[in-house]
Amino acid sequence: MGKRPAVKFRRRAPAILVFSSILVILSLTAIANFLTMRMLESSKAANFKLMRDVLASILKSTEDKALSRAEVVEAIPAVHNAFLAKDRAKLLSETEAMFKEQDEKYGLQSAQFHLAPGISFLRLHKPEAFGDDQTSYRPMLVDVNTTHAVRKGVAITKSGPQVYGIVPITDDAGKHVGSFEMGLELEPMLNKIKEAYNIEATAFIDEKMLTDIATDLKGDIMSPKNRVGRYIRFHATHPEVAAALVADKDVEIVEPSSYERTFAGTSWGVQLVPMYNYAGKQIGVYALAQNLADANASANRARVWQMLAALFGIVFLSGMLLVVLRGLLIAPLAALNEKYAALANGDASQPADPTDTYVEELQALAENYEKLRAEKSRS
């Protein structure tokens, strides 16, 4: 059995200690980095939730507005009586000015009286068109005329996608005779999100539904430049940002999803939320985008400082280990060793360094060396 080679303490010991120190510091830095990332992710998740909550809140608020206005108008005696009398001309004269004012000021896009179970009696936004049966594509309308209860929600009609509030109308005997609805545009609702929360908001609507149902839709909405997958970008508070952040594949969702994307040097957090109609059928997608540049920059800065702190830690700890091990132990021991070797070979001319050069543990060794050297010199 051969002799095992001796471990070189002067090389191995500092290397092991320095390596261990580096490992510990890097591990701590990695953990700190991980925690920073977790905090960032948590912050972003909270941001995405806030975006969803904002949308839900403003959508509900818009639905409530549509419903309350419909209830107020329907409750006006002159309007109510004109509808019961089926006097279309009188009904129009009673409501025309109101509708125009509401349209211009508050984005009221449509208002319509229906006879049960869903026959258009008067469209205030298009008085010349009436008499059509809407039961085939207006489940909310059918529901109101069936259950005789108020309903609200998003729906696509001939005028396009709107937020509706529908109230049932009953005669003096309590018999259900029809309904009245008010439809608010999506645009003011999305603009409000932008104004109040600085969140860019976009509404994508199913192109086929728009083509089939929203036949009265005006403008150049149905153009190729607005086509995103199977949807049409119906309204965007910032069309350029919306076009860059939401692509064909992104918009194909069936449940809320979020992601990050960089545009024009800015990182954006995008939250997509499916848009459902009253019947629970997905008719589009809401896209909300918020600038995340500040959050990301803060996290990146924190990471850089952590790495710099780790570098300082490694350098100082390594330095201390090397200075203590080599300066106090290994180098003096090596020097003494050389002197012992010379003495063993009969050379007693090399004195040890002054005693205070050595640490206490080596001082005895140096003193013994001096004794041996003195004896050798005498002999």
Partner: protein
């Protein structure tokens, strides 16, 4: 004797190195901060003409304006013209109050941006839209869907009708040319576009220099009329209109997006005034600051390191005399002072506050101070040898020789990475 000659040669080398650094820092060609555009090829006419190639409606409008007759005298502000007429036009109440005025800003040309002064000059199309039912007319009278007036005709009509009193509050001075176009639609909708080259004040934040983003802001504020009478707003048409021309460039900067932001300014006795800011962000091209600023800054960090590297530990202490290395450090100190003077003179924007450059200067001074402390304590008084013996003294010197450059370089990189984050 031999050692003396060697020390003399080192001193001479150190002096030569410092002189080279000093001369380079003082005479380094500093780029002027006023980014100017030269050449008539990028002038207003061409910019307008090029804008006409843009597919959007607003760009077409801008292009058509370039061909519009130029009104020689600059017109008075809208409010002044209104006030000056015999019968002061009253605010339109046909649609109730407040009157909603849509705002859009198109940046046609970016002429200059002086980040030292916080001023920029650009040509913009400022669009206001509102509705005045008193101006409605039969649709049959407008074969294009609207009536359009330009130049003098537009000014004359604008003087007779109500226009919102909107002031660009951060405008410093404007050029002599002001082009104005007025469109009136049959339903009383009014649209004015004013093309104007002007100089504006903007705040500059150089914290992330040279990776900073600045904002060229037009601060639009309604004067006299509170939010009960007039409010500024923007819809998707205004957002689509508000952008920078694709042909617009700015030396050393990359133009980005235009953002509109609405706000309310409080006034006396609870009054509130409507405000909209249109801000175009521009990103600095980081490479422009590399040669004149960061190379000398990082190079000057080598001076204190050289003062360490040029020495060598011996049994008796150190090879080079401490005073020679101290001279080097003092020379380095003057070099850094000269460099800071040169940079801060040329780049006033980074002279104050906390930014990458001031941090790197701080690092320079800290490294110099540290090297001088090492020279005095280690090289001059041999404190390590006196306290712990020659072996510790040797090891401490070896450690300092690699630790200082590693930490200095690491810190410099960290400063740059923090700015770029």
């Amino acid at each position: 004797m031999k050692r003396r000659r060697s020390s003399g040669a080192r001193t001479l080398a150190a002096v030569v190195v410092m002189m080279v650094f000093g001369l380079a820092m003082v005479f380094f060609p500093m780029k002027t901060r006023a980014v100017g555009k030269e050449g008539a090829a990028k002038g207003f006419g061409k910019a307008a003409a090029s804008a006409s190639h843009s597919s959007s409606a607003s760009a077409s409008a801008a292009a058509s304006l370039s061909a519009a007759p130029i009104a020689p005298p600059p017109p008075a502000p809208a409010s002044a013209s209104a006030a000056g007429s015999a019968e002061a036009p009253t605010i339109p109440t046909g649609k109730g109050l407040p009157v909603v005025v849509g705002v859009g800003v198109f940046f046609l040309e970016l002429k200059s941006f002086d980040d030292t002064k916080g001023e920029f000059e650009c040509t913009t199309d400022l669009r206001f839209r509102w509705q005045d039912l008193r101006l409605a007319y039969p649709a049959s009278e407008a074969y294009r869907g609207y009536k359009e007036l330009r130049g003098k005709d537009a000014e004359e009509l604008l003087a007779k009708m109500w226009v919102p009193n909107v002031e660009v509050v951060n405008r410093l001075e404007s050029g002599s040319y002001v082009g104005r176009r007025l469109r009136i639609f049959p339903d009383g909708r009014v649209e004015t576009i004013t093309r104007q080259t002007a100089k504006y004040k903007t705040s500059v934040d150089a914290k992330r220099f040279p990776f900073d983003r600045q904002y060229l802001v037009l601060d639009l504020l309604v004067r006299e009329d509170t939010t009960d009478e007039v409010v500024l707003q923007f819809d998707k048409n205004d957002v689509a209109f508000s952008r920078v021309a694709k042909i617009a460039t700015l030396d050393g900067w990359k133009p980005g997006l235009v953002d509109l932001d609405g706000d309310i300014i409080p006034g006396w006795n609870g009054d509130r005034y409507s405000r909209v800011t249109a801000s175009l962000f521009i990103d600095r091209q980081a490479s422009t600051g590399l040669a004149p600023i960061f190379i000398p800054l990082v190079a000057s960090l080598l001076i204190p390191l050289l003062a360490i590297w040029m020495n060598k530990a011996t049994e008796d202490g150190f090879e080079v005399e401490a005073f020679e290395l101290a001279n080097m450090g003092i020379g380095g100190l003057f070099s850094v002072i000269a460099l800071s003077f040169a940079i801060y003179t040329s780049y006033g924007v980074i002279a104050g506050g906390d930014n990458t450059v001031t941090r790197l200067f701080g690092l320079n001074y800290a490294t110099l101070a540290l090297s001088l402390a090492i020279v005095v304590m280690l090289f001059r008084y041999n404190l390590m040898q006196r306290w712990f013996g020659r072996y510790v003294h040797e090891q401490v010197f070896k450690w300092i020789a690699w630790a200082m450059p590693v930490l200095t370089l690491g810190t410099s990189i960290a400063f740059l990475m923090v700015a770029a984050a």
